[in-house]
Symmetry: C2
Subunit: 231 residues, 2 copies
Amino acid sequence: MAKLDESLLCDLPPFCLLERAQIREILEAAVSRRYEAGTSIFEEGAQADRFFLLLDGYLRVVRTTPGGDQIIVLHISPGQLFGIAPALQRETYPAASVAAVESLALSWPVRLWPEFTAKYPGFATESYKTVGQRLGQIQETLTEMATQAVEKRVACALLRMVNQSGRKTEAGIEIAFPITRQNISDMTGTTLHTVSRLLSAWQKAGIVESTRKHVTVTDPHALVLLSELDP
Amino acid sequence: MAKLDESLLCDLPPFCLLERAQIREILEAAVSRRYEAGTSIFEEGAQADRFFLLLDGYLRVVRTTPGGDQIIVLHISPGQLFGIAPALQRETYPAASVAAVESLALSWPVRLWPEFTAKYPGFATESYKTVGQRLGQIQETLTEMATQAVEKRVACALLRMVNQSGRKTEAGIEIAFPITRQNISDMTGTTLHTVSRLLSAWQKAGIVESTRKHVTVTDPHALVLLSELDP
DNA sequence: CCGCCAGTTTGTTCGAGAGCAAAGTCGGAC
DNA sequence: GTCCGACTTTGCTCTCGAACAAACTGGCGG
C-alpha cells in the first residue's frame, strides 16, 4: 500500500466526478506495484481476483494459442483500467497483460468492484464505457484481420498505436513505447520478415522512420491512404 | 406493444431472479416485433436508441468494411440480449444485426436501461456477464483468425455454431439455422469456393453432411481434431 | 409444370506471403 | 574496448488459398 497523490487520479474518467475525500478512500484501498519491462501483471486464464489501473508505462494484452503462437490484442496506456474481467463476472482473465516498459499500476480486490460502482457516481458508467470502446476496437481489428491484406493490416496497426500513444517529435509522430518487428507481426498475424520488408519500403518512401524497437511515422496521411486504398 | 406470456422471460438469465409482477412490468414496457429472414434489426453505425432480447429465431451480427466485404462477428440465439451497445455508453451500434430466419424480438428504449439495472436485482450482473462472454469469444475468434490456417478456422467456426445452437438428429448434430457456404466464408475470412471444397472433402471423409443452406456434423470429434492438430 | 436464380461444385491459374537460411548491426554487460 | 545476444535485413523457394471461369442443381414462384 503506497502513499500516492490523489491528483494522479482526479483527472481520470472513472474518478473525475468524485470528491477529494472519496479519491483518498479509493487510494487507501489500493495496492500499488511496479512491474519491470517484460514481466506480466497477470496470466491468461488466471483467477480474476483483482482489477487494475495503469498509472505509468505501457502494457500489451496478449493471447497465446495452444500451439504457442501469440497475438497482441491491444495496448494499455496510462490512466486506463485493465484486468476488469471481474466486472464482467468472469472467473478468469481472458488474456495476459505484459509490461512493455517499466510500469506502475494500482489494483484492488474484486470484492471492491460492486462497492465502487455503488458508492462512486460515474464510476460504473465510465468503466463500462471503456469496455464498450475495447469491444468496438476488437471487432474492428477482427474485421480488418478477416478482410484486409497484410500491408493494410500493418498500416492500420501503426495508425492505431500512433493515435493511442503517439508523441510528437521533430521527425513526425513517434510511438511512445518500444516495439519490435516481431511485436508488430504479433498484432497483425504475419511474420517479422514481412513487417521488416514493409517498414523498409515505407522508410524508403519517406512514410516512416525506424530504429531498433522504435517507430516514428513521418507522413501519417500517406499511411492512412495505404490503409484505405484498394490498388 | 404486444401481450406476451411472462413465462417466456422468467427462465432467462437476466430475469430469472425477478418476481412475476416485475416481469409483467418489463413486458409492459417492451415493444415486440417480428422480422423476416434477411431483414436487419438495426444497422451498423445507427443511433443506439434501443436494446433488444431475441425471443425466437436466429440473428447474425455483421460488420461491413468500407470496401464492401462483410464478416459475421457472432450469432445470437433465442433468449440472448443483443444490441446492448447503450449499456456500454455507446452512441451507435458497432455492428448490424440481421435475421437469419424469421425472428421475434422484444426491445426497450435506452432510457429504461438505467432503470432496469437499478430496479431489478441481477439484471445488470447477468447482462454484463453476457458482455464478458462475447468479449472473450471475439478475442478467441481474433486469435484464431490471426494464427490459424483456413481449414482450422472453418472447423472452429462449425464447432462454435454446433455448440451454440446444435440440434441432435439421426445423422448427427445439425446447425439450427440456415447457413450458406458464403456465410461460413464470411465468418472465417475466406471465400465460398474454399469453404465448398472443404465441406466436400469432409463429407467424403464422413465428418459432415450438408445440403443447401444446412450443415450437419456427423463426427464432431474428428472436427475437433482437425481444429487442434498441427500436421 | 416450367423457368429462373440463388446457391453450389469443380477446374485452372497465379501471386502474396510464409518458411527457411544466413548475414549484418546495434546496444548493453562486463 | 570487446563480446554477446537480441533485433533486423535480405534473398530464395514453395505452398496455400484467392481470383477467375463455367457448369450444375434444387427449390420456389408463377
